[in-house]
């Protein structure tokens, strides 16, 4: 009944989301027993494997370090995971764009269903997941011999690191190499930011259509800097070209659940709420006092954001 977690990494760094997925695996392990293994697949990933081995609760780290897995393209990654699946009853990955890309491919190769974006573990075979943009929560039970799951990281508290105790799991090489003549990596254009990663930030400040234009998003910079916050956006702001799409919070963008979410000039459409309504405290700043965002906001401030934002920045 062992569990295999696909580690998420980029540029030689283990992503914070992996610790949340390990937590979900441990929640299942309490019912199912078995060991939690981690798979690190990529090219030049020794440092990632070292970091992964220090995560609390990990039995061993399996490392597939080969050019075939660079950029974690779906075709070789799917084949690799399908190859390793025989040793496991559970395959888990974060519900990131990597996890969403690879895991359904693996599930189909193994002729089993996938359960997407679990937020809670009821038992060894029963999980909760949001449907209809988070407007309903489904409890589903899987009788598949292999359970393929993606995990919504905001649903599980990250496991700790054994860094300080000097402990670490065993690291073993996996020598499965798959041919891939079908897909080739060409290029990547990543948004540069010194701010915390949106999905893992403790505070998120988001702007919507009410920001008026991309230039005005600078009004959020000072506030985000003072709070150590990430900056997000509504789909309206992304579609209007104010900011790049990787800043989008919502059903089709990122799901966040920070301690504090400040929504500025965002009306609060169903699609946006799906991405942020599990935040601990929600603040809405909007000139329209009828805006739906006020129905979920703990604190609402009705007024002109162009007056409120500079004042807020100055007083923080």
């Amino acid at each position: 009944m062992s569990l295999l977690v696909l580690a998420e990494h980029h540029d030689g760094q283990l992503s914070g989301a992996t610790a949340h997925v390990v937590a979900a695996a441990q929640a299942i392990q309490q019912h199912s027993g078995g060991d939690v293994d981690l798979l690190v697949a990529g090219e030049h990933v020794a440092a990632v494997a070292e970091a992964a081995a220090k995560l609390d609760g990990v039995n061993r780290v399996r490392v597939a370090d080969h050019a075939a897995y660079a950029h974690q393209l779906a075709e070789p990654m799917g084949a690799l995971l399908a190859e390793l699946a025989g040793d496991y009853s559970y395959l888990l990955a974060g519900a990131s764009t990597t996890g969403k890309n690879v895991m359904p491919r693996v599930a189909a190769l193994k002729d089993v269903s996938q359960i997407s974006e679990i937020i809670e573990v009821d038992s060894a075979d029963t999980f909760k997941r949001p449907i209809y943009a988070g407007n309903a929560i489904a409890t589903v039970q899987s009788a598949d011999p292999l359970k393929v799951l993606t995990v919504r990281s905001t649903g599980f508290d990250a496991v700790g690191s054994l860094q300080d105790q000097g402990g670490s799991a065993a690291i073993e090489a996996v020598d499965v190499v798959v041919d891939n003549a079908q897909s080739t990596f060409i290029k990547e254009a990543l948004a540069q930011s010194d701010r915390p990663e949106l999905a893992g930030a403790k505070i998120v400040v988001s702007g919507g259509r009410g920001m008026g234009n991309g230039e005005n998003f600078k009004l959020l910079d000072g506030i985000a800097d003072k709070l150590g916050a990430a900056i997000g956006a509504s789909r309206a702001a992304v579609d209007a070209g104010f900011v790049p799409n990787d800043m989008q919070v919502g059903q089709t963008g990122k799901i966040v659940a920070p301690e504090l979410y400040i929504a500025v000039g965002i009306s609060g459409a169903i699609q946006h709420l799906a991405g942020m309504k599990d935040s601990k405290v929600i603040v809405a700043i909007n000139k329209d006092e009828e805006a739906p965002i006020f129905q979920v906001a703990d604190y609402g401030l009705v007024g002109d954001l162009f007056e409120i934002l500079p004042e807020l920045e100055q007083k923080l």
């Binding site: 890309n101 996938q114 209809y132």
Partner: protein, 249 residues
């Protein structure tokens, strides 16, 4: 090149859904249904490929009850040439849908199959990837740009940190992200013409696909309600509340 487009009939994205009192599922009686928004984008992309002379024929396919033919007619009105309706009243899980679509891919041999990245009802984001696995084809998921040259395709994908471009050999499977294009509206004459376009009706049994899933829906509940908050009168009051009441600053 033939392009296959899969579309799904779902609850309209503006509808505020209700959970049935017995918690068996979401109540969809008398609720407005529509084509899944991501599928509309898939249809639009296929039509644009035809307008560019890349696609020669567009085949739209759906799986669902008789009423789902409405969505196929919409696809035909938007520019698809013919439609295939795999009729079933059973709920089709992603894996079963992918198996049915794999049969259609086998029969039709499209150069490209386009699907939405996810349906806004189940929010699974699985079918395209599963179809790629079952057909042994490469996948370009969450596409925001598709460029086809000869027997290769460049797909720009929306990934967590930004954008990634990959090259795929054709035939291939693509799933659409929201920013791939802006779907057009069907014009009345096109809606009339769509009524005369061919639609084949088949069933999962005829295609030899078992619909049964090992995943059971036990319960559907409403999410925890957020308590209504308060309105504050000033920035000072807001900062004070966040510091002393909510203690998040």
């Amino acid at each position: 090149m033939k392009v296959l487009v899969a579309v799904k009939r779902v609850v309209d994205y503006n509808v505020k859904i209700r959970v049935k009192p017995d918690h068996s599922d979401v109540d969809l009686t008398n609720v407005k249904m529509a084509m899944n928004p991501f599928c509309e984008i898939a249809v639009e992309e296929a039509v644009r490929l035809k307008e560019k002379g890349v696609a020669t024929e567009i085949v739209a396919v759906t799986i669902g009850p008789k009423a789902a033919q409405e969505q196929l007619r919409t696809a035909l009105a938007l520019g698809a040439d013919r439609a295939i309706h795999i009729q079933t009243d059973e709920k089709a899980e992603s894996l079963a849908v992918a198996k049915l679509l794999a049969k259609v891919v086998e029969q039709e041999q499209p150069g490209l199959t386009i699907l939405g990245k996810q349906a806004i009802d189940t929010d699974n984001n699985q079918t395209g990837q599963m179809l790629a696995a079952l057909t042994g084809l490469p996948q370009g998921t969450f596409a925001s740009e598709v460029v086809i040259e000869n027997d290769k395709m460049h797909v720009t994908r929306e990934i967590d940190g930004g954008l990634q471009t990959i090259e795929l050999t054709l035939p291939a499977i693509v799933t659409t992200d929201l920013r791939l294009n802006e779907p057009r509206y069907a014009k009345l004459p096109d809606i009339m013409k769509a009524k005369k376009k061919p639609m084949d009706v088949t069933t999962p049994a005829e295609l030899g696909v078992e619909m049964a899933s090992k995943v059971t829906l036990l319960k559907v509940e409403s999410p925890a309600e957020r308590k209504g908050g308060i309105k504050v009168g000033s920035v000072d009051e807001l900062i004070d509340k966040l510091k002393n009441e909510a203690k998040v600053l």
